[in-house]
Amino acid sequence: MKTQNLTKGGGIVVVLVVAVLFPQVFTNPAATNYGVLALIFATAAVAWHIFSGNTGYISLGQAVFFGSGAYTMGIAARDWHMQATAVFELLPLSAAVGALIAVPFGLIALRVRRHTFIVVTIAIFFIFQLMAFNFWFTSGSNGLNSPFLSWAPVPYNQNFYYIALACTVGTVVVAWLVGRSRFGLQLRAIRDDEDRARGLGVKAAQVKLAAFVISGAITALIGAVWFYYLNQVQPQTGFNPLFDLTLVLMVFLGGYGSISGSLLGALIIEPLYLWINTQPKLNGYNEIMLGGVFLLVVLFMPRGIVPTGSEYLTKLRTRGRPAVSPSTTIGPASSSPSAPSVSSGGAR
């Protein structure tokens, strides 16, 4: 067990070093662009995991926070006449707005269970898109432009890369802290059996709402970074119906219910998606491809890369014998805290 922890720690260090060195080795703006957007989506995917991965409530309304974060920064920078790097001071404001929106959103949507919840998040998402189109302060379908940032092209992408990397690392740390805390256990208890969790004294409504607010705040923050990176937002790009589907696809590909899976999925899908967009031959096929990849993943690898892969590794190491002798409990399996609920994420 100890060597396993050591390899795990070593692996994290290696990944971090590679992530930090990446823009120094590949200075080409096209390459760093892939890096920035992949990290933005990785942050959003891990934020999705904090709520949906832990509780099992699949949210298709994260774009509400993403777009609201972007619009908050845009509107505040415009109305307060902020310039250049001072605009970054608005990031906490975006996160706060995301958290503020998450409270009523969560209070309404979390009154219903599971699949009705998914539908309600979609409905609320469309309300927000409509508001972005119709309110006077959002400039309608023209959207908003960010203040001009006078960085030269090469450090421009690199600077944003490190900002996005900081967000990703911070979000992973938050997700990890949540996952190993009592709070995280309560969330997973809700995922396994909400009624039983309530019976055991978990304040389900409060716990779910808290996770939803954390997830919303992070998504709004990264939405603001995304806005300043691209310099613009329109209602259909900020509040994009494909945004949530893409997030869910990333998480399911990587491994539903695990932080590393969410991260890995985002780092695979987003560069792939960007690459497809640059191929003139494949122009117009990206929706078909996104849908197709999604179907393949759900039908043939429903548990994702990380759980399937780690199971395979365990099998190799133990030469087919079960690593832990199977328990002989009769009746419904209990979700004890020591159970590796991360790897059982997509299996149920």
């Binding site: 309404i108 179907l295 039908l299 299996a347």
Partner: protein
């Protein structure tokens, strides 16, 4: 002013009938299979495009063309069920099917976009602009025909559900799948046919939608969000609830249009949110029957 309000109410009821048909398909699929078919909106657009092609290439009237498009959509539905939905197992099945149907919708949308391009089209048979004078207001014939057809089909669906052997097995599966299996009902067959029927009604929705709106491959999103609101409001799985909710919502929306055309759609979602605050199971949903 009063005339304007009457006109909008009549319009709302007539369009509401057509939406009811599309929503009944959705709620039926949910009731029997525990599936939310996110692709329903795109399938309506697919139905509209099928009628569009038949009309422009073979000069078949969209309403007559239903003889072809309804069976075609039925087959598409059965194929979608067979290829993707029947293969999913396990406790997360409902959430997974939701995502799968989303992906299917995305693929259909992509294909439609490839074939027909991004520009808006609409179905334009000769009679599309002719109207008739009823209750002191002018009402388009398209709306009337659509409404009559929708009501007829809902009645047929109702009869199918409550007067036939097949309907009895559908209701048995709705109540308790395991018990239905035990008494010898082929649940998979019932599920496939129900999914087919739920998709087949989108052909009719497509014709009326296509004759009253300009549409392109993207139009499905607006439709599906409305349809979802309707079935949640009516109580998921309740056919009567879907009927009442769609007529109510569409009337409300078209009355609000008089004062606030841009914000009329918000009425939908606002009504949904308010109802959910007080009755999380929707207006006609039964908590005990459908434990989620």
């Amino acid at each position: 002013m009063a005339g304007e309000i009457t006109r909008q109410i009549v319009n709302g009821i007539l369009i509401g009938g057509v939406y009811a048909l599309m929503a009944v398909g959705l709620t039926l699929i949910f009731g029997v299979l525990d599936i939310i078919n996110i692709a329903q909106g795109v399938l309506v657009i697919l139905g509209a495009y099928l009628s569009y092609s038949l009309f422009n290439k073979a000069h078949i009237d969209p309403f007559l063309g239903l003889v072809i498009t309804i069976p075609a959509m039925f087959i598409i539905g059965v194929v979608i069920h067979w290829a993707f939905i029947s293969r999913l197992r396990g406790g997360e099945r409902t959430s997974m099917t939701l995502l799968v149907t989303y992906a299917v919708g995305l693929i259909i949308e992509g294909i439609l976009y490839k074939i027909y391009g991004a520009s808006n089209v609409s179905l334009q048979p000769r009679y599309v602009n002719s109207s008739v004078h009823i209750l002191g207001v002018y009402v388009g014939w398209v709306y009337i025909w659509g409404f009559i057809l929708a009501v007829a089909l809902v009645v047929i669906l109702y009869a199918l559900l409550y007067r036939t052997r097949f309907g009895r097995s559908v209701r048995a599966v709705m109540q308790d799948e395991t018990a239905a299996r035990l008494v010898g009902i082929s649940v998979n067959k019932v599920a496939a046919i129900t999914f087919g029927i739920g998709v087949a009604v989108t052909a009719v929705g497509g014709v009326v939608f296509g004759e009253t709106n300009a549409f392109n491959a993207n139009s499905g999103y607006d439709l599906i969000s409305r349809l979802l609101s309707i079935i949640i409001l009516g109580g998921m799985g309740s056919v009567g609830g879907a009927l009442a909710a769609s007529v109510f919502m569409l009337t409300l929306e078209s009355v609000v249009t008089i004062w606030q055309p841009n914000w009329a759609v918000v009425v939908y979602y606002a009504a949904l949110v308010i109802v959910l605050l007080y009755r999380p199971t929707g207006l006609f949903g039964q908590k005990a029957v459908r434990a989620q």
